[in-house]
């Protein structure tokens, strides 16, 4: 994983696998020194305490195709490498929240990467779910959801490269404006 955005996409996939119908991705820049906090919230089936304890062990996985599970451990490693923290909370039947913090000026912090592309890809490839994106910094905030896009643009389905291209530019403009890069 070379970008934080790819980690976000990877963790969001876990939410889909957990049967969530709503997944919220949020990025928050705050504090002095500056910290970038990313949160991925899903309302899937959640995990029991035993399972939760093991999730950041790379040799634990719920899948059956192979014996390793690297998504969460890699995110944890990258957050800690950048002077940050990693936290995961989950309740059975309610959902899971993954949080990772990065020191924003840390030399080992990965670039944010193509966040808009990842979010749009998740939203268009999984139209049955409600996707939310929240961006916040001292300069302001920006929020968008897939149901909002559908209702404002009067669409049943978010598709087509013309629309997704415009949506990506819109999100990128807000990322730039809030100084989240």
């Amino acid at each position: 994983m070379k970008e934080i955005a790819l980690h976000i996409m990877d963790i969001a996939e876990n939410g889909i696998a957990a049967g969530a119908d709503a997944i919220c991705i949020s990025l928050l820049k705050e504090g002095e020194p500056e910290v970038l906090k990313i949160t991925i919230d899903d309302n899937g089936k959640g995990m029991a305490k035993d399972e939760l304890r093991q999730v950041s062990d790379p040799f634990y996985t719920s899948r059956t195709t192979r014996r390793v599970g690297l998504g969460l451990p890699l995110l944890r490693q990258h957050a800690e490498m950048a002077g940050g923290e990693f936290d995961i909370r989950s309740k059975q039947g309610e959902g899971t929240r993954v949080e990772a913090c990065f020191q924003n000026d840390h030399p080992d912090k990965q670039p944010l990467g193509d966040l808009e592309g990842c979010w749009i890809l998740l939203a268009t490839a999984n139209p049955g779910l409600e996707w939310e994106l929240q961006l916040k910094s001292p300069l302001g905030n920006f929020e968008i959801t897939t149901s909002e896009i559908r209702s404002v643009m009067e669409l049943e389905l978010i598709s087509g490269s013309a629309l997704t291209g415009q949506l990506k530019r819109m999100i990128r403009n807000n990322i730039d404006e809030l100084g989240l890069v």
């Binding site: 994983m1 996409m9 899948r63 990842c118 490269s161």
Partner: protein, 133 residues
């Protein structure tokens, strides 16, 4: 042109310029379309599945192929990521490995458009002994 910053801006542009947006009608039968599934677990994402998927959906749309591009979890071929599964209408699914942009382009031009097989197929048999006569 001013920067698009909100959905209101986006809607305004669409209302002024006409949509230019192609919208898929929901009722289309999946069986009649080319179905592309991109494996997007940690292994796939780390190997570039996102670029593969973006390229697939854009290229198929631009080249006028009616297709559904979706994402799936790990198919178990972590050594061959990014992997994609393609189902042409009326055919059995085929899995391709090592699908970067160039490979994806080749797959669209040769396999999807004319059914010609290309290098990189991962042999998978979906039939079980039980399902055979």
């Amino acid at each position: 042109m001013s920067k698009i910053k909100s959905l209101a801006d986006l809607k305004k542009i669409r209302d002024e310029k006409g949509s230019g947006l192609q919208i898929r009608e929901k009722g289309e039968e999946a069986e009649n379309l080319v179905q592309v599934k991109v494996a997007m677990a940690t292994c796939g994402i780390a190997s570039g599945a996102k670029e593969t998927m973006e390229f697939m959906s854009d290229a198929l749309e631009k080249r006028g192929v009616d297709a559904i591009v979706t994402q799936v979890g790990c198919m178990g071929y972590c050594y061959a990521e990014p992997t994609i599964e393609i189902t042409l209408p009326g055919s059995d699914p085929l899995v391709f490995g090592g699908v970067n942009r160039d490979k994806a382009d080749e797959i669209i031009e040769k396999y999807i458009k004319s059914g010609e097989l290309v290098d990189g197929i991962i042999p998978v048999n979906y039939e079980t002994i039980d399902s055979k006569e």
